[in-house]
């Protein structure tokens, strides 16, 4: 077992996710038919042998807490270590909401101090990827780095999407020479994945100093300021990676997961992805069902046509329904004769018969949780 503890940051408000994150943290957003975004970070940790994991939550964390429970689905209900959830708590000094990532860590410094692992990996809870943190640790040790940042050549990102990320520059030795947070005009397409590796003791001292100076952000106030004085290295990741922070990005990510190569990379090869179980019975296809290029979870009952779409657990598709290029979340019901195209239906939506709802590939229509149309 490797001596690494994990911290998952579940992010700040994501106004660009609109209705999808109104009721939940972006880390709790449902993806790929049965998962929530945070399953990927958690499963990567467990698959890399990390069993001491803290999840720091801030906004709308109820559904996230419900999803994580005791951590048993990830084998993290342990006597030693396991899963710890840290929602913000109101202290005597009226602190409360975390003012930034460093402040969030500062408020939970006891967790860091009480742990005895040598290293900490800090990751984001809203990213979809499969990564072996052990390899990143090897890289970190080989370079005797103070901090290692995972980055990826974001060839498949538009300029707009790039400017939502931290953009880095590296020298020929993979040392990070520049890091810009969400630049309007990104100078490279090397995007930070928000994954940081460093020694636990170093993290504690950096956080303490940062907060003592009245600063609160791990990237802006620590990493960027210390690029010259600390040895910060970039670890190049070659696999698939998406972070979910906009509706468009969310839609795109789900549609990309209809590619079998990606299904293999993320779910079937080198480590499984764990999630909360629902005890649904397998999906049932009736005589009229016509499903192609789609992923379908347990508990669905299908009598209509489904093309290029993602159906979550327990979705009912009645006769003469056409669902195209859409994402239908858990327990939604689409009644007879309805046509859906470029639509995202949140959980438990009911679309009554004969409706015609059509969005655009860049602007899918969203029906909020428990919606009735």
């Amino acid at each position: 077992m490797i001596s690494v503890m994990g911290i998952i940051l579940t992010g700040w408000k994501k106004p660009q996710l609109k209705d999808l994150s109104a009721i939940r943290s972006s880390s709790a957003i449902p993806v790929a038919g049965k998962y929530r975004a945070i399953d990927f970070a958690l499963s990567n940790m467990v698959n890399s042998g990390i069993t001491n994991v803290g999840v720091i939550t801030q906004f709308s964390f109820r559904s996230l807490m419900d999803h994580l429970g005791s951590g048993k689905e990830w084998d993290l209900d342990r006597k030693r270590d396991g899963l710890f959830i840290f929602p913000p708590s109101m202290g005597n000094d009226d602190s409360g909401w975390y003012k930034g990532s460093a402040d969030a860590l500062y408020n939970n410094l006891t967790f860091l101090k009480r742990s005895d692992e040598k290293y900490v990996v800090i990751v984001q809870g809203n990213s979809v990827y499969k990564m072996d943190f052990e390899k990143m640790l090897e890289f970190h040790m080989e370079n005797k780095a103070d901090v290692t940042i995972a980055y990826r050549k974001m060839d498949d990102f538009t300029k707009d999407e790039l400017s939502q990320l931290g953009i880095i520059k590296t020298d020929e030795n993979q040392r990070v020479t520049d890091l810009q947070e969400k630049p309007l005009n990104p100078e490279t397409n090397l995007g930070s994945m928000g994954i940081y590796f460093l020694e636990r003791e170093l993290l504690i001292s950096l956080i303490e100093k940062c907060v003592a100076h009245g600063n609160y952000d791990f990237v802006k106030d620590i990493l960027i300021r210390k690029l010259e004085t600390m040895k910060v290295y970039g670890y190049k990741f070659e696999g698939y990676w998406r972070n979910i922070s906009t509706v468009r990005g969310y839609y795109k990510c789900n549609m990309e997961l209809l590619k079998p190569d990606l299904i293999y990379e993320l779910f079937l090869r080198e480590g499984k992805v764990y999630t909360k179980v629902k005890d649904e019975t397998p999906a049932k296809y009736n005589q009229e069902a016509e499903v192609s290029n789609s992923i379908v979870a347990d508990g669905c009952i299908i009598e209509g046509k489904v093309i290029n779409s993602v159906l979550f657990r327990g979705v009912t598709v009645n006769k003469d329904v056409v669902i195209k290029d859409s994402i239908i979340m858990q327990d939604s019901v689409i009644e007879e004769g309805t046509y859906l195209e470029y639509a995202i239906l949140d959980k438990n939506v009911r679309i009554t018969g004969g409706k015609n709802l059509k969005g655009d590939s860049n602007w899918p229509i969203i029906i909020g949780k428990n919606g009735f149309v």
Binding site: T281, K284, D298
Partner: protein, 425 residues
């Protein structure tokens, strides 16, 4: 809290009429319905009826059952008091023996039951597919102040000779029990679900153990003895879906019942869920060229071919051009390109090559076991491997773990078997 009721689940039988399906596992561990094992139905019925204290008695090849049940987590039976306990035969100071019969199995666990000291025990079999609220039956037992209550189901008169038949008066009090009668007087068949008042059953079990002539079986010894003694015994009528799935044909038919538009047996009922350990697999994928109709498909499947009127368990891969019809394909099996599978049961982790055809030719019963394989269904054992271009007829059995070298020819005619260590002519 003292438990009023505990359940004892008999899961030691082989189910030998299921042939190659129960070669390596006990009948209650056989997969069913795209996700479950047969025992899941009784276990889920228990927890859904509010019974959280269950002893599972195992004997024949219990490994799969042991790991399946574990500490009972999927059924919410990982409890501080009660919960599920696997009871296997054990050694004592002077001797040790296998369970000699259903009653003997319970007899050997009297200590276990006494520790809980329930007022009633319900004896179940892990062999059947049904959803039943046992708490109603126990209510009936209490209402009648019965010593024993046996749940019964109406069967067609011509089939009654295959069951244990209860002859009752017009208030459903049992006055006679006939095991597989040649001339049935009644159509109420025992479902193998018994409620006993523990004090009385305990006494009968101890006496039965002393009886040298007894075969220590509930149906053959305990029930007739109690009737003889004039105990208060009642038939509790059940009228839902109940299947024994004890033969290849009835097993296949019951699975096929599930794919009907509105199945008689509904697994989608949120108020009566059937629980089982969940496989860790992604939602299944249907490729642009994939086609699925009238079927049940579990998670982790990758469908590039055509699936019709079939049940697919988790992690089945159907290559492009392949056609699966009227078949059951169990977990993690692979079907190669352009293979045609017609009316077959394919066990777990089978690898079927390209251009394989199963289910062709005439319906000739299996030469070696015509009693098991005679209804046109070909059965492939666990981890068997089928080479490219293999042609397989009807009522064929391919043994567990057969590899490419075990075949004498690329044509296996209807009624033939492919067994290990057979000499080719």
């Amino acid at each position: 809290m003292k438990k009023e009721i505990m359940a004892l689940l008999l899961a030691g039988g082989q189910g030998s009429r299921l042939g190659v399906l129960t070669k390596k596992i006990a009948k209650p561990a056989v997969l069913y319905g795209g996700k479950y094992r047969i025992i899941d139905f009784s276990l889920s019925n228990c927890i859904n009826s509010g019974i959280d204290n269950v002893g599972v008695l195992t004997q024949y090849r219990p490994q799969k059952l042991n790991s399946h049940i574990g500490i009972g987590k999927p059924w919410d039976m990982d409890r501080i008091t009660g919960g599920v306990t696997v009871l296997s035969p054990y050694m004592t100071e002077d001797a040790g023996q296998w369970y000699l019969g259903t009653a003997n199995a319970i007899f050997h666990n009297i200590d276990y039951i006494d520790k809980v000291s329930p007022k009633y025990v319900i004896i179940l079999s892990g062999d059947h597919i049904y959803k039943m609220d046992y708490s109603k039956m126990i209510g009936f037992h209490k209402g009648k102040q019965a010593d024993a209550t046996i749940s019964v189901i109406g069967v067609p008169l011509h089939e009654a000779c295959r069951y244990g038949i209860m002859n009752t008066d017009n208030e459903d009090r049992i006055f006679e029990f006939e095991e597989k009668p040649a001339q049935p007087k009644n159509t109420l068949a025992s479902m193998g679900v018994y409620v006993f008042s523990w004090k009385i059953l305990r006494e009968y079990l101890i006496n039965d153990d002393q009886d040298k002539a007894s075969v220590h079986d509930f149906g053959k010894n305990i029930i007739p003895k109690m009737l003889n003694d004039g105990k208060s015994m009642w038939a509790y009528r059940f009228d839902g879906y109940w299947r024994d799935v004890g033969t290849i044909q009835s097993y296949w038919e019951s699975n096929m019942d599930l794919v009907k538009r509105v199945p008689e047996f509904n697994l989608y009922d949120p108020d009566w869920k059937i629980y089982t350990p969940n496989p860790v697999k992604p939602a299944h994928y249907v490729a642009p060229e994939g086609r699925i109709k009238t079927s049940i498909v579990a998670e982790g499947c990758m469908i590039y071919g055509e699936v019709n009127n079939s049940v697919l368990f988790p992690g089945v891969y159907v290559s492009s051009g392949a056609v699966i019809k009227d078949s059951i394909v169990m977990s993690n099996s692979f079907i190669g390109r352009n293979s045609i599978i017609d009316k077959a049961i394919i066990s777990e982790s089978v690898v079927c090559g390209d251009n394989v055809k199963i289910g062709i030719g005439e319906n000739i019963a299996n030469e070696k076991r015509p009693d098991l394989y005679n209804c046109g269904i070909t059965v492939i054992g666990e981890k068997a491997s089928l080479p490219d271009n293999l042609q397989v007829g009807k009522n064929v059995v391919i043994e567990v773990g057969i590899n490419q070298n075990n075949y004498c020819s690329f044509v296996v005619e209807s009624g033939q078997s492919v067994l290990k260590g057979e000499e080719c002519e």
